[in-house]
Symmetry: C2
Subunit: 305 residues, 2 copies
């Protein structure tokens, strides 16, 4: 059975939080591992609203230093302090984020009860920022009004699953089981041969999630996100507002679909909608003209990979 790998959207609005929409934040879950991606104002309230235990989050990824992507962070850290969190927390984000946090805590006279490790992202090339037990996380550059990165979350190849029926029939030595699960044939001391293909299910293909917010239309990112299972790409505007998208360094729904198409991704998730659009169906329809497997990100909804 494949490990659960899914993303829950906590907010989908850009700029002004109207229409009852909240600022950007997502929880990516891979098995027991919970990662928070961006942390707009109110994220700690949204986490509680959707019954996601904040204590489960050990890694937070911040794309850039515009308020709608990180203003919930200091509140979340403060709450961790109040609940006497002990587990270390790993925070990934651009230069300046550490200064912002330090300034807040300097004046609040509060101390964190846990170790906060800050890993500064670079705004050039693909960089491995976190090597977690079951996932590798990379940052890559987007182009926005301030230094901004996207994030790529790629599953590590796991162990192969043994075929139960074979195991029940034959008594395999422990060493054979370990070798087979690692994907290799096993030859016993007596010369007995256990081919992995016969004893194991085929390895599940590794899955990947790519997160791109905020950015002007940038086809160059396609090299980093080729064939991912799910691509989240901002679509702040519609094509009719392309000029506005360009001047604010944002993308349109059609451009997001174009990125999905040239990157040959499986599914596209749109988000970061401008407050000018009360209803979002037209953004979806526009994207569909270019790329079929597209969804609107909805607050509180979970998208499996």
């Amino acid at each position: 059975m494949k490990t659960d790998f899914e993303v829950t959207v906590l907010g989908n609005t850009s700029s002004i939080p109207v229409h009852g929409r909240n600022h950007t934040a997502q929880v990516l879950r891979h098995g027991q591992s919970h990662l928070l991606i961006d942390c707009g104002e109110g994220t700690q309230m949204q986490l509680r609203k959707y019954h996601i235990k904040t204590s489960k989050i050990n890694h937070i990824f911040i794309s850039h230093l515009h308020g709608d992507h990180y203003l919930g962070l200091v509140g979340l850290l403060s709450s961790y302090g109040l609940t006497k969190r002990k587990n270390p927390l790993f925070l990934y984000g651009p230069k300046g984020l550490d200064e912002i946090i330090t300034t807040h805590f300097k004046w609040s006279n509060n101390r964190l009860s846990f170790r906060l490790h800050f890993i500064q992202t670079k705004d050039e090339g693909l960089n491995l920022v976190a090597d977690l037990p079951h996932l590798k996380v990379y940052s890559f550059p987007l182009t926005h009004r301030v230094p901004t990165t996207g994030f790529l979350f790629r599953e590590k190849p796991g162990f192969r699953n043994l075929i139960k029926e074979k195991l029940l029939k034959e008594k395999l030595p422990l060493e054979a089981i370990q070798t087979l699960r690692n994907g290799m044939d096993y030859i016993g001391p007596d010369g007995s041969f256990y081919p992995v293909k016969e004893y194991c299910h085929p390895k599940a293909p590794v899955r990947a999630y790519a997160y791109c917010s905020d950015t002007i239309f940038k086809p160059e990112i396609s090299e980093y996100i080729q064939q991912v299972d799910l691509l989240y790409h901002e679509s702040t505007f519609m094509q009719a507002d392309l000029d506005r998208a360009k001047t604010t360094f944002h993308s349109t729904a059609m451009q997001a679909a174009e990125i999905a198409k040239i990157s040959q991704v499986k599914n596209l998730l749109l988000g970061h909608f401008s407050s000018r659009y009360g209803v979002l169906d037209d953004l979806l329809a526009e994207a569909k003209t270019v790329f079929e497997n597209v969804m609107l990100s909805e607050e509180g909804k979970t998208y499996p990979l």
Copy 2:
């Protein structure tokens, strides 16, 4: 008719925002004038939820630099920038608030579209911080883990209202009307005498609102808030948790009631409830044993003075 003078509670929780409660923020309305008092995380969403136009707010008062009292401020200022606010904004708060705001805007590469005037509050004595057309606002020191002030909002004596029936019967010169409204008798050039008592309703007594959050039990503040119409006083804990109140520099519901009693206020409004209390009735009952006219602050509810 008296000018509307009322306070709307946008959040009533301390520390961890559980039970669907939000962090501290209040809107004090006096006629057309809207003042924001504290600005916890999510305040801009709460303002929209309760249909209070953010553009109407020209003055923001921050009591202290703990996150649950100001972390919504940068988001609100950012939204003002996005909506191209032009009116100047006056911000009152302790030393450090300006540095926090400056640090955020330095990294966001955004500029405000309006003038932001910062008035630093002092943590000693009663100080006039804002002299508005119909209100005077004073700060006074509370005792908490960081420099903290309460705020006193006192109505200015207004014009007296003329008695309509008299005006319909007699034709008064404009000069007489102005003099009478200012509360003085008028003597015409021909020696005619218009006593203010005969032509005007008695002057409405000036009203006052006092805001005290957060503070350890501090009877000394009573001198600043004597006989106010409405006192908001934090009541983070119940008397059973008095030790916890002392070590965290907070007050109990009973202590808040004690302050109301010795200050001879008309009404007491409790708030800033600890997340440990799921139901708040016991805090109200405890306060009532000391002071009868007491209410629990409820999110979205408006309390007239």
